[in-house]
């Protein structure tokens, strides 16, 4: 059984960075980059690396559908609704990096196995990928009644899509904190910081747990979780120890990217593409194992 062939729609920053991560995945084979601008950096780079390149968007991909088994969509929520319908009809697996959220949310270290068979999965938001693992880890040790995350990213790492629709970040992340993190109530805050040199993505997770004095269990659950995220984002780390104040627990995280296409400070973008690649790799692994059996 060969590797699953990967298509990426959207040859912008996210799509381009993703390409490099696919190259490192054991069960995936980078195949096709799809864009709408033949001169885009992403298409040029894909071509240079010997991949198929399509510059007339989804129509072009549909004509050559046999090139791909699994498709990442790094375009927009609006375009994704259409892409998803067309691709799933052809039996292609779809990984959604837009805020469309048609399929279930997936945060690899929290609920990877639950949705490997879904036709379409959604990668939540960058802030969600960086913080929901921690909420989930705390919730495994002690019921989380309320969880709030504050994601601070370098202004240069927040693209025009995020900026034009910042409420979607807030809403989607809050929802996923509840749904995947397991908090009874979730809240998300995002802050853009224009400092020069750009700051590395920082995330603070504040939660209210149901019981006090669960410090050891909570800390050990968080530490285990950090290791599990580091498996696909090596630059993910906790700053200091978790801070306990009665029922309140605060955890400080820093996310340094792998520096594939984005500069390392853009941990917010890196964790999105790394998590998406991780999900696709697991899907491919599962299919490959299934066939072998």
């Amino acid at each position: 059984m060969g590797k699953l062939k990967v298509g990426i729609i959207g040859s912008g920053n996210i799509g381009t960075d993703l390409m490099y991560k696919i190259e490192r995945s054991d069960f995936l084979q980078m195949s096709t980059m799809v864009g709408i601008d033949a001169d885009s950096e992403g298409l040029k780079r894909a071509k240079d690396r010997g991949y198929h390149v399509i510059d007339n968007g989804i129509e072009g991909l549909l004509e050559k559908a046999a090139l791909v088994d699994i498709v990442f969509d790094a375009t927009t929520a609006k375009a994704h609704a259409n892409h998803s319908k067309l691709l799933t009809a052809l039996g292609k697996k779809v990984i959604d990096l837009t805020p469309a959220a048609i399929g279930p949310f997936v945060v690899p270290s929290a609920n990877l196995d639950e949705h490997l068979d879904a036709p379409n999965v959604n990668m939540v938001t960058c802030g969600g990928q960086a913080t929901i693992p921690i909420v989930h880890a705390i919730n495994q040790a002690c019921t989380v009644e309320y969880a709030e995350i504050v994601a601070t990213v370098a202004s240069k790492s927040a693209g025009p899509g995020t900026r034009a629709n910042i409420d979607e970040f807030t809403r989607t992340t809050s929802r996923a904190i509840e749904k995947i993190g397991g908090a009874q109530k979730g809240k998300a805050i995002i802050i853009l910081n224009p400092a020069e040199p750009p700051i590395i993505m920082r995330d603070t997770i504040h939660v209210l747990v149901k019981e006090e004095r669960k410090e050891e269990e909570i800390t050990s659950s968080i530490e285990k979780m950090i290791n599990s995220v580091q498996d696909y984002v090596p630059g993910y780390r906790m700053r200091g120890k978790p801070v306990f104040d009665g029922k309140k627990v605060s955890v400080f995280i820093e996310v340094k990217g792998a520096g594939d296409f984005f500069p390392p400070y853009s941990g917010n973008l890196d964790i999105m593409t790394a998590a998406a690649a991780k999900v696709a790799n697991e899907i491919a692994k599962k299919q490959s194992t299934f066939v072998q059996k």
Partner: protein, 338 residues
Amino acid sequence: MKRDLQIVDVTLRDGSHAMKHAFTEEQVRQVAKGLDQAGIEYLEVTHGDGLGGSSLQYGFSKVNEMKLIEAAAEECSQAKISVLLLPGIGIKEDLEDAVKAGAKMVRVATHVTEADVAKQHIELGRNLGLKTVGFLMMAHMAPIDKVVEQAKLFESYGAEIVYVTDSAGALLPHEVKERVSALKENLSCEIGFHGHNNLSLAMANTMAAIESGATYVDGSLRCLGAGSGNTQTEVMAAVFDRLGYKTGVELYPIMDVANNIVAKFMPRPQEVTGSSLIMGYSGVYSSFLLFTQEAAKKFNVDERDILVELGRMQAVGGQEDLIYEVAREFARSKKVPV
């Protein structure tokens, strides 16, 4: 009446920081009623960090802000309620709720370089028929041409007034003048100024702003705002009267609400203290004050060191979580016993 200048009172919003977001409904009713009777046309009622600001990061509101907005609106016969919204913290639904509660003005605030995150919210403000304002926070952190560029974005989205907001109380009068004049020259909407008194310059900066063409100026009663508070509303009323500007605000009644109502529940006098002075000096967001004092105490470090470091790191509004980390780092590097 025709006013030459609009004094916007922010006691019930910026003061929320100084009150640790614990305004009661009764306090809000009394202040709103007093401001209304004194002739203030716009008064702001929101969590200190804007709609949706109630959180572990900034402090939970003691009373739901929608309830406070509604209460304030009920007390007013002529005055209108303004709300603050920081995209990234509050969302459009919060603004819709605030309008249902009685808000008539929205001020959409972003860091001085990040105006483009406010497009949707400014457009929504206009669509809802609100007086819509763009608020460029931490205006000391960007050069003039950047401030102009960002202000133009606000104007292009539909803002009717654009504010130079000196969130850190760091601007000096000539810097206020440069910024307000540049906006006046390059924009056709009205210009506002929001100051903080950390360097004891709030009134002087407000003067510089109006002399450069600002027509909306913010104040708080007894300076009840973040850091050392804002330009003092009742002082502004007196000064503008002496200068011959019509503000529509009557001196004795505005003094009475300041001294008979606000002064009674203020947790501490709004002096320029060691830490607020350093905020102005090193350009740190004024609402960091109480969080810094708390962290300094917990880690036994000098609050001034924390603030200077935050200024050096170019922290922006909303990054309260950074304070704790900076304090912890100082304690560790100095081996201060905790």
